[in-house]
Symmetry: C2
Subunit: 475 residues, 2 copies
């Protein structure tokens, strides 16, 4: 994987995940059946965690009228340059221009003014999984920087007080940690600097992972919105003390990038390696059939027995019985698709009633008697899962450098080793100068806040440091 | 339900299903949490039936460039007047206008030219669940005639021959029958007349149900597309006989109207009545707490025991323990939401270890000892299910009239009794004249084809009839 972007383009095509570049609109692609199933299982993890913490799923219109989007002034300033506009319906010009939603704070807050009247209804936690649109001027990349982000999970919450909203930020962070932990995706959590927070937020907490080429990738953000939107929409409710006042909000989102990082973090030169918990197919069975008709029949009927048995045990099983493909080509095909375990069944296995099981992550093969098949497969899947976790974590740990020297940080970032942390005085001007000198981007300061040892100084201005600050090349 | 459209507007608001009319874009509304859960379970039924018949879910971009949409000439003629166009990104005018998809035949066929090369890959059956957009000039209605249809399930299939595609039409019809049967929604199946088929299709088969006010509602359509799109896109594959030729296609869709008809068919003056199989909450438990603290505690702890027991048995249970609401208000609230069974627990029930169970469909109450709770509830849910089916079928049967007289048909349709069938010679001119004289719309001829008795004549021209033809007021 010497050239990660090329590898990524190759793997999503070879594994039939996402067809990008052939669809005739820049920055937009197609989820193919196999990719759709990965996405579906990732969404099941996300939905499960949100539903179990009291989030309610909703679905808002795609189109936001211009006057709504413009209501909160910082917000529209942040998005204005990248909004797609619908101006015509049929042959008529529309009276009001309609934006393809870049995010839904405005339309959701607008409707909340009708739905929420009292503190008794709070906290309210809505979420939706939708397409959002951004007319990106930067280079687009499949699943990573799109003009149509097709898997935007955005949550929007309403609270009685600043503190309640802040507690919600903590809950959101815990939910996101749980999501990435389940998907075995390592991350750091940073408080984004003031100059890079979400347009309209008090502050933004972000999750970043590191791609195989050492660039950081933002994979989730959590915003304390304060009263920015509730004031802009004059959304007031009856408070506990009978006052009418503007409630407090948070919002937080993850996107297609969750799937992108799942692919990037675990994949290898042969293709995808999907963690068993979200693999559309956990066990692929490849019968290796002899030429002799009768022997062929024995292999196929034993294959059917094995498949039935494993399906009954609850595994997601697929039998590749394509007659016109050779076993070697099938192995190659399913390795590219990242199926965690491959079961090979030839005449020997059929006669001895055994299974030959190959692991996708290590490519090791083991044999197991049919009677122990379920147990061995369960065990092997657990081993794959923990090996992927260990591998991802150890790669990630080596991608973090803490140093007092801006030069070392610059070299680290430049040579794509990952994320560098240096002491920082807290001034925006020093942060921006670091970005220039390191030729990278500031990700922010560690969250939760970490004390800085006495004596550490900002390498730009020499003042005492108040925090470590993270820098990296980013996507 | 003397005024059905008003009832429908009321019920989707009262039951918090779909917020329509407050969102500031005409023809677009919001799926609220409760409505979203109904929609989700309906989609589970639809997805389950499609997945188990070899359909593969995909997700295509929303935006279709103008040149793609214009490729098939009849198709664009059919949709041109109602396409929304994106013309600007940020502050720039786009080089190529982008349509919000009105349906996806064009973009899917375009990508199939890359994906499908040989008959060996056939049949291919894709589907997606997406928003589609139509700039409707007719009066919009929540969930029934929208400008953003948020739950468009569209399937697109590819086949080796005309006959294979025709067999797929049959499979699609069977899938749709199974969907509507599970949701207890009655229907007739008609072959739409030539002048009302899908733009680009050889023919269209449609499912219609009847609303409480006697108007027909189209709830599903199946199209044999022939080679219209494969020719327009010069999509050719290697055929079984080695020739390169254009394959054959079908497409079929259902929409938000499935949920709309679920609501309309089963609801009553108190609100929704949701079939237990798709009810987000199957059993709501309302504790009726005495003022006395100790007795209150006994009722609440017994309530918790009952709830746990029913949840463990696999029912979808909700306990309404809101302290500031009176039981009467809660009954009213959950009746409007159509929860199939309500369990009332007061001091008597807590002391005698019983449950009082009220059915939503008949409003009858029965008592059951705690020890038999699961069995009785299962039994009652089955009774609700079969009662709703029976009720819907018997209403529907009375909405169909077969008559030789166009006058009788006209009176039937005019007085909103439902769908009328009259003999027809097969000529478009006679069909159109019938529409005028009956002041209704031709739905088409019965599918599967029915023989017409000798001697029946078209009431317009007097020629021998070749089929019955259906007429109704429609939404």
């Amino acid at each position: 994987m010497s050239d990660f972007p090329r590898w990524f383009d190759w793997v999503i095509e070879a594994a039939e995940v996402y067809d990008y570049g052939r669809y005739p609109v820049k920055g937009m692609g197609v989820w193919m059946p196999y990719g759709f199933q990965i996405r579906r299982r990732v969404l099941e993890v996300i939905r499960g965690l949100l539903d179990s913490t009291g989030h309610e799923e909703v679905l808002f219109p795609l189109l936001i009228p211009e006057h709504l989007l413009r209501r909160e002034s910082e917000h529209i300033r942040g998005f204005e340059g990248e909004v797609y506009w619908v101006t015509h319906g049929g042959r008529e010009e529309l009276d009001v221009k309609l934006a393809l939603r870049p995010t839904s704070e405005t339309s959701i807050t607008y409707m909340e003014t009708f739905w929420i009247k009292s503190y008794r209804q709070l906290p309210k936690k809505y979420y939706q999984v939708v397409s959002i649109f951004r007319y990106e001027t930067k280079a687009t990349r499949p699943m990573i920087r799109l003009r149509e982000v097709t898997t935007f999970k955005e949550a929007h919450t309403v609270h009685e007080s600043f503190e309640d909203a802040e507690r919600q930020v903590l809950e959101a962070i815990e939910v996101y940690k749980a999501i990435f932990d389940r998907l075995l995706i390592p991350y750091v959590i940073s408080k984004r600097p003031e100059w890079d927070k979400f347009a309209g937020a008090l502050y933004t907490i972000a999750f970043d992972t590191v791609m195989p080429d050492g660039r950081a990738l933002q994979i989730g953000t959590v915003h304390h919105l304060g009263q920015s939107f509730t004031r802009a929409f004059d959304f007031r409710i009856q408070m506990r003390d009978e006052r009418l006042d503007h409630p407090w909000q948070t919002s937080y989102g993850v996107s297609d990038r969750v799937v992108a990082s799942l692919i990037a973090v675990h994949g290898d030169d042969r293709g995808l390696v999907i963690p068993p918990s979200v693999a559309p197919i956990q066990v692929v069975i490849v019968p290796i059939t002899p030429g002799d008709e009768e022997k062929r029949g024995r292999v196929l009927s034993y294959t059917a027995r094995v498949a039935e048995r494993l399906e009954k045990a609850g595994f997601r099983v697929h039998v590749d019985d394509r007659e016109w493909e050779r076993p070697g080509a099938k192995f190659y095909y399913w390795e590219a698709k990242g199926v965690p375990l491959r079961v090979e069944i030839g005449l020997r296995e059929a006669e001895e009633e055994t299974l030959t099981i190959a692991r996708r992550d290590t490519l090791e093969k083991v044999e197991a008697p049919l009677g122990e098949a379920e147990g061995r497969i369960r065990e092997l899947m657990a081993q794959v899962e923990s090996n992927l976790r260990r591998r991802a974590q150890s790669f990630f740990k080596e991608r973090l450098l803490r140093t007092d020297s801006l030069e070392d940080a610059g070299e680290w970032v430049e040579s794509r080793r990952g994320i560098a942390e240096v002491p920082w005085c807290g001034r925006e001007s020093c942060g921006l100068e670091m970005e220039e000198r390191v030729n990278g981007k500031v990700l922010g300061t560690p969250w939760p806040e970490e004390p800085v040892e006495d004596g550490k100084r900002c390498p730009v201005c020499g003042r005492p440091a108040v925090a470590w600050i993270r820098l990296a090349k980013t996507y």
